[in-house]
Symmetry: C2
Subunit: 247 residues, 2 copies
DNA sequence: CAGTGGTCTAGACCACGAG
DNA sequence: TCGTGGTCTAGACCACTGA
């Protein structure tokens, strides 16, 4: 049934359930277990690999959550059809988005500033009106071509270390993680059609009446604290937004 | 520590871990455990409620996945700041989307047809060129006003029962679930700016040069089989798309 | 009926973080 | 050092499925 049980090393510092997850992923990747097919039952895996059934279950449950497997009560566990990139709706940013499209990301800093929170900003960032806020206005480039205008607002108290960093062509999220110890894990965003502020049209190399995709986003750390409020104007003729959804 | 342990009923058919989840949700909802605060440790909950630690863990792990709690190694489990609607990126559809906006959804059927799959359709729906496909072209209404044009394509073999159903003002997803036994759990979609086909501009009550939000989507069942390919043109002046993301 | 996944127990050892 | 979450075991009973 299983080619070789050597794949599980109980002495390894890598958790057993994690090794099993990787083993199952490999079986699927290599087409040994095909989409729609039944995989060995929990008890079978548990016995053949000489590990506890609860450990097997931890691996299977995580793979079900990741969408690689699905289960039917009383029937067994099956390989899901791949088709979908396996991760759902990843939190991404301009830098990694462009990299995944095979383009070279860039950022030209137009404004870096410390301002006082307006009522709207205070609301978005969970601050008080008048609290200090870092404003960062950048032109985002893809393969050296203008792609978007991005105006970010960050609570000064959390993000001030970035003011001492070189921001040109750097990933803001990477800086927030490494310099401010802020781990961004969730975001809420809206997408709508908008138009360019005429003063900024030239920067994007469009005319003022060109429709743009306006993406407004608030990004949060794992404890739910907002860290960034950003408005991005993407050139509608060059950008297409892609997402995956689940129930 | 815990007001009363009566909340866990071991005789109930409701799983213990599930009762515990609900209990914790209540504690958070009622402000007894506040955002950012430490909640009792796994061992504490296990002892006080007289249930196994593994059972406590199952409840906590699921709540962490749902974003209500977060954990720090060696420190404990904390209540996450609410702020975000708790569900991430739900798979939604026009009907429930409009209901959640407090508007009355509607659908006017323009075309129902059985056609042969083109190359593109065959690819999207995992069919062979020429296979039968149900085409459904509808004008979607919100509070009786035109909001979007939606052209859906479904594999005839899976979706044919809907042809015998009244489609006017019905939710397609609801019909697919109840009449075709198709449970849609995932989707992949793209959002971009587009313009209306001049022949259809009048239906949306816009001029042909009005920018629209084009949402293209393929929807899948839990085993990864595509069930619907749909192109929706939303009026950019009336619609704003909203999503939540996580790592 | 036998086999499946779903739930649950009562232990155990580990690595990590704080004082 | 002590308490935390992370991992793991070897059992158990249940409800559900298909034959």
């Amino acid at each position: 049934m299983l080619q070789n049980k050597v794949r599980i090393d109980k002495k390894s510092p890598i958790p057993i359930y994690y090794q099993l997850k990787n083993f199952i992923k490999k079986q699927i990747e290599n087409g040994i277990w095909k989409p729609g097919e039944l995989i060995p039952s929990e008890r079978e895996l548990s016995e053949e690999l000489e590990i506890s059934r609860m450990t097997v279950r931890q691996a299977l449950i995580e793979l079900v959550n990741e969408g690689l497997l699905f289960r039917k009560r009383g029937m067994g566990t099956f390989v899901a059809k791949p088709k979908l990139d396996q991760n759902l709706t990843k939190l991404t940013n301009f830098t990694s988005d462009m990299l995944s499209r095979g383009m070279k990301p860039g950022a030209k800093v137009l404004v870096v500033n410390t301002i006082q929170a307006t009522k709207k900003l205070a609301e978005k960032l969970n601050l008080l009106e008048g609290d200090n806020v870092v404003e960062l206005f950048r032109l985002r480039l893809a393969d050296e071509e203008p792609m978007a205008l991005e105006r970010s607002f960050l609570p000064y108290a959390k993000a001030f270390p970035i003011l001492e960093e070189e921001l040109e062509n750097r990933s803001l999220y990477e800086l927030l993680r490494s310099k401010c110890n802020l781990n961004l894990v969730r975001a809420k965003q809206t997408i709508e059609i908008s138009y360019c502020d005429p003063r900024n049209a030239a920067l994007l190399e469009v005319t003022a009446d060109t429709p743009l995709l306006l993406i407004e986003r608030v990004t949060f750390t794992e404890d739910g604290e907002p860290v960034e409020y950003v408005r991005s104007y993407y050139r509608g003729d060059r950008y297409k937004f892609s997402i995956e959804l689940s129930v």
